[in-house]
């Protein structure tokens, strides 16, 4: 009995329709917003301004000095995001790797311990932020510990340096369990006889790590690094609730800039927000290309070996 060629499309229909209406169409509309100005929501009311939005965002004396830029808050957000991403991703992957290595050992109740690190991943960003906001209060738990240890209490979220630190900390706390899981799965896929062979050859532990574990884990590590980086660049929820972007703009990141510009201000500059999102997408495309390059290079290396 021949299959009706339309059947698969019927089953695909609803999904494709939703994708079309809420993903593909909006991407096109977003481009339209980026190249139009004015404050109207409806596209037909918006005047064409060409590259003016992008030019406004990119107008800087020096790209390294946000205060020399026309839209200084955008560039503050960009540099905040860059700093945050570098620190958060590297530290988090390090901790995840360490935890995965520990969990890979013969320990009692591995499932339970894995769950311990995984629990914060399930919590909503709002809950995560409020949990830590409560701990970091002036009369909160952390300051109680500080006073007990003989130090002075600190207004953690009111000082730009500390606020930034805590944003990184809370973000690592909330997400490392996810990457630990992926790395643990990768570690457990490494055949045990490789380690036995290394032991029989009396290889030093450092060599085992460097020559066996890490190279075989490399694909997983790359995946984790890129996934973490893609997520880090788009951070918003937990930071917004924890610090609101403050103090000042110390913890304002790019997505918050887009949200503020397009939805929070009295004057909603949809065009500027759309242009900002295009620049963000550009950064993400670059990251994804780096990942593709890296995995391809790794595969090529494997073939050459």
């Amino acid at each position: 009995m021949r299959q009706d060629a339309r059947t698969p499309w019927f089953f695909l229909g609803p999904n494709l329709f939703i994708f079309g209406v809420f993903t593909f169409l909006p991407i096109v509309i977003n481009l339209y917003y980026a190249f139009t100005g004015g404050v109207q929501l409806y596209p037909r009311d918006r005047p064409y301004v060409g590259f003016e939005n992008l030019a406004t965002l990119l107008d800087c004396g020096s790209y390294f000095d946000p205060s020399s830029c026309r839209k200084d808050i955008f560039w503050r957000a960009v540099w905040n995001t860059a700093r945050f991403s570098v620190f958060q991703v590297s530290l988090m992957v390090l901790f995840s790797l360490g935890t995965a290595l520990v969990l890979n050992r013969k320990i009692i109740g591995r499932g339970f311990w894995r769950g311990v690190y995984f629990y914060p991943v399930l919590l909503s960003p709002v809950v995560v932020a409020l949990i830590w906001k409560w701990v970091l209060q002036r009369e909160g738990l952390l300051n109680a510990g500080m006073v007990a240890a003989g130090a002075n209490p600190v207004l953690w979220l009111a000082e730009p340096g500390w606020a930034f630190f805590w944003v990184i900390f809370v973000s690592i706390w909330a997400h490392m369990g996810f990457y630990t899981l992926i790395l643990l799965a990768g570690l457990q896929a490494i055949p045990a006889d490789l380690y036995e062979a290394a032991q029989m050859d009396r290889a030093s532990p450092w060599r085992t790590l460097y020559r066996i574990t890490l190279p075989l884990l490399l694909p997983n590590l790359l995946v984790v690094l890129v996934l973490a980086a893609i997520r880090a660049v788009q951070i918003f929820d937990e930071v917004f609730v924890l610090t609101g972007g403050g103090p000042g703009s110390a913890t304002t990141f790019v997505v918050q800039f887009i949200y503020q510009t397009g939805f929070q201000e009295q004057v909603r500059l949809y065009g500027l927000a759309a242009a900002g999102s295009l620049l963000l997408a550009l950064a993400l495309v670059v990251l994804t290309l780096i990942q593709l390059r890296a995995t391809r290079a790794d595969k090529a290396g494997e073939r050459a070996r």
Partner: protein, 349 residues
């Protein structure tokens, strides 16, 4: 033995040595760090508003002891009172005017004792301030926010399971022209950052009349690429012979999907259901944009909005936060294994 040895040892039969103890210390530290703050949140949510302002804070919630006094319709707070004859007793307070308070022995309610407030201190006992929770329904529209969150989560999950399984069915069990293209298209959707579609989706949702409607949060979220791939991966393992046999029995394609493939995909559907429930329950940015009327707020939005500009009523905020994290905690307690398996298999792929 170096730190590297400690880190690279994998499983093997041997007695416990110091590296094992170090591992357990690390894990115990992790337990403290991961669960500790949540436990602190729960403990704090049972403290009264005034108890919350104490510094340094106590671990267990304490409240002032209260007893019933004959002749009074509400319980009265108890103080440790220094009497004029030098003895110290615990007595409930009847009333207080300025610096003088009137206490009474419940056994002798007709003999009031007047005491200076400087000669007394409150008696504290372990007390759960459950009014932080019970007040939520009355004082604040908590039931409404809960309903909004539940509605969105349940409806969106059902639609997600339905639409994604249909698409996965088509992609796994049919050969047709354009299949590769559709596959790439859905893969591409995975790469689209949400920030890119915030503004235009706002327009789309507004044009559809779904602004400030729970459906404006539901519809954009029901087609998930992760869900399609997850289900497709599982459906590929369903033998085609089953479908062929059904077709020979003149079963319609829909029946094949609904009666054969779907039930056989139950494990994958369960994993997707858990994921979808998590995603929708925890959604923040998109509901923040779509829902601006407070009666439409989800729990997450309500929590965020509850932080006042000047004064935050932490006792209520903490209680709300605990309730918000309760469902996911229950899911975690019972289904953690499945979630972990789902992610690990997706990650390794």
């Amino acid at each position: 033995m170096s730190a590297v040895t400690f880190l690279t040892r994998t499983r093997g039969r041997r007695a416990l040595d110091w590296t094992d103890w170090l591992s357990y210390v690390y894990l115990a530290l992790g337990l403290f760090l991961m669960f500790g703050p949540v436990l602190w949140l729960v403990m704090s949510s049972f403290k009264t508003e005034s108890a919350l302002t104490e510094f340094p804070p106590s671990f267990l919630p304490y409240g002032q002891k209260q007893v019933m006094v004959p002749g009074e319709d509400k319980p009265r707070p108890v103080y440790r009172v220094k009497l004029p004859d030098g003895s110290v007793r615990e007595l409930p307070e009847l009333r207080r005017i300025g610096l003088m308070a009137t206490h009474v022995d419940p056994a002798r309610p007709d003999e009031p004792i007047r005491v200076n407030i400087n000669d007394r201190e409150p008696v504290r006992e372990f007390r759960l301030a459950t009014e932080n929770y019970s007040d939520l329904g009355g004082k604040f529209n908590f039931g409404l926010y809960l309903w909004n969150s539940v509605f969105i989560t349940v409806v969106a999950t059902i639609l997600t399971l339905l639409f994604n399984s249909m698409a996965a069915f088509a992609l796994s069990k049919y050969q047709f022209r354009g299949r590769g293209g559709v596959f790439l298209l859905i893969l591409g959707t995975l790469m689209v950052p949400p920030a890119i579609v915030l503004v235009p989706n706002f327009l789309v949702v507004a044009e559809l009349g779904l602004l400030n409607s729970l459906w404006g949060v539901i519809w954009p979220a029901v087609a998930t690429p992760t869900g399609v791939f997850l289900l497709r991966q599982y459906m590929l393992t369903i033998p085609d012979e089953l479908l062929e046999a059904a077709r020979m029995d003149h079963a319609s394609e829909w029946r094949i999907y609904w009666r054969i493939v779907l039930p056989l995909s139950a494990p994958a559907l369960a994993v997707l259901a858990i994921f979808s429930t998590m995603w929708r329950w925890n959604d923040f940015l998109w509901p923040l944009i779509v829902l601006s009327k407070s009666e439409k707020f989800t729990l997450q939005l309500a929590l965020n909005a509850f932080q006042g500009d000047l004064v935050t009523q932490w006792n209520y905020l903490l209680a709300m936060t605990v309730i918000t994290l309760l469902p996911i905690t229950l899911v975690f307690a019972f289904l953690q294994k499945y979630i972990a398996q789902g992610i690990a298999s997706a990650g390794v792929k």
